[in-house]
């Protein structure tokens, strides 16, 4: 044995004798994970979070979270001599006078955008494949929590530099806070330590942004990953893959290398964006003054849907008992997002309630095999997309020569009309894909070769697909219609009827090819 090996062995032994790590490592380093590109979306979010921690720490070295008034005398001439807050002043210095500061700021901001988009993409992957089903409901809830805190965290970061855009955002947040009936103005005074904008808000949100929420993220991400570890990762169906096994590669060395490499890919892409594309150029936007506002003031994209909803709301207010209730802010700014997020959080429980499915699921659904769920997912994507379009309605209006009122009315009507249409279309597409799968299993693949029979008939030669593929296309469990096996008492009443109806909708399926189907066809492939 070489000296180096002996030294490494001795060190490992020393540690093991004191921690007992060897047994734990032996078990966990060989843990198997399935392999698919869509399983790496959550990884993108995780790595973006690490990049955010690293770049964010760098930014705190120079950022001064204070609304104290200062006079700018840094190197960006067009703002020279202006009165501004120390927060804005220090962000300018960070951008222009600190080596690498602007790059770090831009990597931080791009990373935040990618963090949020990766969370959303990951969420839809989990939704469309049914990965939230038992036993993973808690992890779904944690995920919804991470998404929600991510939106808040992103908004606070956007608000910190105290530029004209971020001040406008805070002003809107204040308006939403004030829209809460009765207690709104008290809450606003509490949050701002007095009247808007005051001097307390930025120091407060700074602590929430750099301490409270990142801490919460760390805790929730840890639980999120521990649950993945404990419950094992779901896998796509295929030959040899069952509800009781995991087919894939061991953590060591495959995923150590892969995940480690992928981290640097994520860092590389984010750094590339930070280096080539300007993001939040606060020096152009100018310092915040409550008397100023810029055309095209938008939030970052993950708040865009909320802005779009508020922009679409008709101006309705009620005055009662000396209080004003601004329905135009209250409904799109608080009530509707509340319903959407509650519905999203509860979806695993709702689905399990109306399907009556209490089994564990470790094999994922192919989205086409759950047409109702897939259609619901597409419906919500379409809904959010319309609101995001309306959130950017002024930019779209000027760049595509449209009228802003036209886009607003399109949104007001489209929000009610287009998502249901998307639902129906998606469901039909899913069923068509199922038919195509059935056809593939029964008749094989179209080869494009035409053969002329002796009687002059032209036929296309079909080639049977592999057994493995056949298995993949037919393995899924058909949801059984709930009303039949349930006692009649479970389907009466409004709740029972609703449950039965949702169950039937969810159970819509193209019958899978059976052995009889195959036998009937016999060898007579055509």
């Amino acid at each position: 044995m070489k000296t180096s090996q002996r030294a490494a062995g001795a060190t490992a032994n020393y540690v093991d004798e004191r921690t007992g790590a060897a047994k734990w490592l032996k078990k966990n380093l060989t843990k198997v994970f399935p392999d698919h590109w869509s399983f790496m979306l959550g990884e993108v979010a995780l790595y973006s979070f690490i990049i955010l921690l690293l770049t964010g720490t760098f930014l705190t070295f120079w950022f001064d979270p204070s609304q104290r008034e200062v006079i700018y005398n840094g190197s960006y001439m067009p703002l020279s001599g202006l009165h501004m807050s120390a927060a804005y002043d220090s962000t300018l210095r960070l951008s222009f006078d600190v080596r690498g500061g602007l790059l770090m700021r831009q990597i931080h901001h791009w990373s935040a955008l990618i963090f949020m988009s990766a969370i959303v993409a990951h969420l839809f992957r989990v939704f469309f494949t049914g990965a939230f089903r038992k036993p993973r409901e808690f992890n779904w809830l944690i995920g919804v929590g991470l998404l929600t805190f991510g939106i808040v965290e992103g908004f606070l970061g956007y608000s910190l530099p105290d530029d004209l855009l971020s001040g406008t955002g805070i002003r809107i947040a204040e308006a939403i806070l004030q829209a809460i009936p009765v207690v709104g103005s008290y809450l606003s005074f509490f949050a701002f330590g007095g009247a808007f904008p005051g001097t307390a808000f930025i120091p407060r949100i700074f602590i929430v942004h750099v301490l409270l929420l990142p801490g919460l993220f760390l805790a929730l991400i840890t639980i999120h990953l521990m649950l993945v570890w404990y419950q094992k990762h779901t896998q796509y169906p295929g030959p040899g893959r069952t509800e009781k096994n995991v087919v894939g590669y061991p953590l060591m060395p495959v995923y150590m290398a892969k995940a480690g490499g992928f981290f640097f890919v994520v860092f590389g892409v984010t750094a590339f964006l930070g280096a080539v594309a300007s993001i939040n150029p606060i020096w152009l936007v100018g310092p915040y003054t409550p008397g100023q506002i810029s055309a095209g003031s938008q939030p970052d994209w993950y708040m865009g849907w909320l802005d779009g909803l508020v922009r679409a709301a008709p101006p309705i207010e009620t005055h009662a008992f000396g209080h004003t209730i601004s329905w135009n802010i209250l409904i799109p700014g608080l009530i509707l997002p509340g319903i959407l997020f509650t519905g999203m959080a509860l979806y695993p429980f709702i689905e399990s309630w109306f399907t009556g499915d209490k089994r564990e699921h470790h094999l994922l659904d192919r989205p086409r095999n759950a047409p109702n769920r897939t259609a619901l997912g597409v419906t919500s994507i379409v809904f959010i997309l319309i609101t995001i379009v309306n959130g950017g309605n002024d930019i779209i209006a000027t760049h595509f020569h449209l009228t802003i009122n036209g886009i607003m009315w399109f949104t007001r009507i489209g929000l009610f009309v287009i998502p249901p249409i998307a639902f129906v279309i998606t469901k039909r597409v899913c069923l068509s894909l199922q038919r195509s799968d059935r056809d593939l299993v029964l008749h094989g693949r179209e080869t494009g070769r035409l053969v002329m029979m002796p009687n002059g008939e032209m036929v296309e030669v079909h080639e049977p697909i592999s057994d493995a593929k056949k298995w993949t296309l037919t393995q899924h469990q058909r949801p059984e219609a709930l009303p039949a096996p349930l006692p009649e008492s479970a389907t009466v009443g409004l709740k029972g009827k609703l449950r039965a109806r949702m169950n039937r909708a969810h159970a819509t399926q193209i019958p899978a090819p059976t052995l009889t189907d195959l036998k009937e066809l016999g060898e007579g492939h055509h």
């Binding site: 392999d35 590109w37 869509s38 790496m40 990884e43 993108v44 001439m77 067009p78 703002l79 020279s80 202006l82 602007l102 831009q106 791009w110 955008l113 990618i114 990766a118 004209l164 855009l165 495959v254 892969k258 490499g261 992928f262 890919v265 994520v266 892409v269 984010t270 964006l273 280096a275 080539v276 594309a277 300007s278 993001i279 939040n280 150029p281 020096w283 152009l284 936007v285 100018g286 100023q292 506002i293 810029s294 055309a295 095209g296 003031s297 938008q298 939030p299 970052d300 994209w301 865009g304 950017g392 002024d394 930019i395 209006a397 000027t398 020569h401 449209l402 009228t403 802003i404 009122n405």
Partner: protein, 264 residues
């Protein structure tokens, strides 16, 4: 008796005096009216420009603005808008309008500078109004303060024209145009005349000195370097979000697919 006093008492003295007085006044008037003959030629020059302008106006503008520029059901009166408004609207090609859309668009001017000046002179001759300026007369480089201009711009202009002068949307398809590449004189004229949806910023609201500061800031914004890389249109988070999704997450999903393929 002296001859003068005897003549004073003569009965023809009165009529002679009247004739002499009339002659003197007549001559004086003649001389006086002959004196400004040099001035007359200038007036004739202006009146030629005015009459040229009037002719152009009758041919090109009167169908909407009326034969006497009094306005009509589809176009406003031009009495009192001054030469600045004409220089801005016609000089930037906004007038004559290509079609009756929400707002006159900037396009290649239909009239050359001389014709524009003639139209401006004609409209200015109708009633006093703000006068047109030249780029040379705007000493913004010397008298403007860029930082102050930026502050004034953000207070008075950015709510429509965007923080970097990139333009923005107004109601019903109207818009505040981008101010990038606009000539200083046109910015100045727009401020004093308030074209289309724009409010008028009189010298009492924003002093000429402050107007020069705004122009100086805008000229600097025109030449502003893209400090952080590609500017993405300087329209805020909309294009940033689009790039984050398409290029950022797009590249990463591409990398994930590539890595998953490698494993097979």
């Amino acid at each position: 008796m002296k001859p003068l006093s005897s003549f004073r008492r003569n009965r023809v003295a009165g009529p002679i005096l009247v004739v002499a007085a009339l002659f003197t006044i007549g001559t004086a008037f003649g001389v006086a009216s002959a004196l400004p003959s040099a001035q007359t030629s200038i007036t004739t020059g202006t009146s030629t420009l005015v009459s040229q302008g009037k002719e152009l106006f009758l041919r090109g503008c009167s169908s909407c603005h009326g034969l006497h520029a009094e306005g009509g059901s589809i176009a406003p009166s031009l009495i009192g808008v001054g030469s600045a408004a004409v220089d801005f609207q016609v000089g930037t090609g906004r007038m004559p309008m290509a079609d009756m859309s929400q707002q006159a668009m900037q396009k290649k001017p239909l009239y050359n500078p001389q014709e524009t000046a003639a139209l401006a002179a004609y409209v200015a001759s109708l009633a006093p109004g703000p006068s047109s300026v030249t780029n040379e007369s705007l000493t913004y480089e010397r008298d403007g303060n860029s930082a102050l201009g930026g502050q004034l711009f953000r207070t008075n202009c950015a709510m429509c024209h965007n923080f970097a002068g990139q333009g923005g949307a107004l109601t019903n398809g109207k818009y505040a145009p981008s101010l990038m590449g606009v000539e200083p004189k046109n910015i100045y004229e727009a401020m004093i005349t308030g074209p289309q949806s724009m409010p008028k910023f009189t010298d009492a609201t924003i002093t000429p000195q402050q107007k020069l500061s705004i122009i100086k800031w805008l000229q600097a914004a025109n030449h502003e370097q893209n400090q952080g890389g590609a500017s993405l249109g300087r329209v805020g988070p909309v294009t940033e979000g689009l790039l984050g999704w398409v290029l950022g997450l797009g590249l990463l999903i591409g990398a994930a697919v590539w890595l998953a393929m490698k494993a097979k």
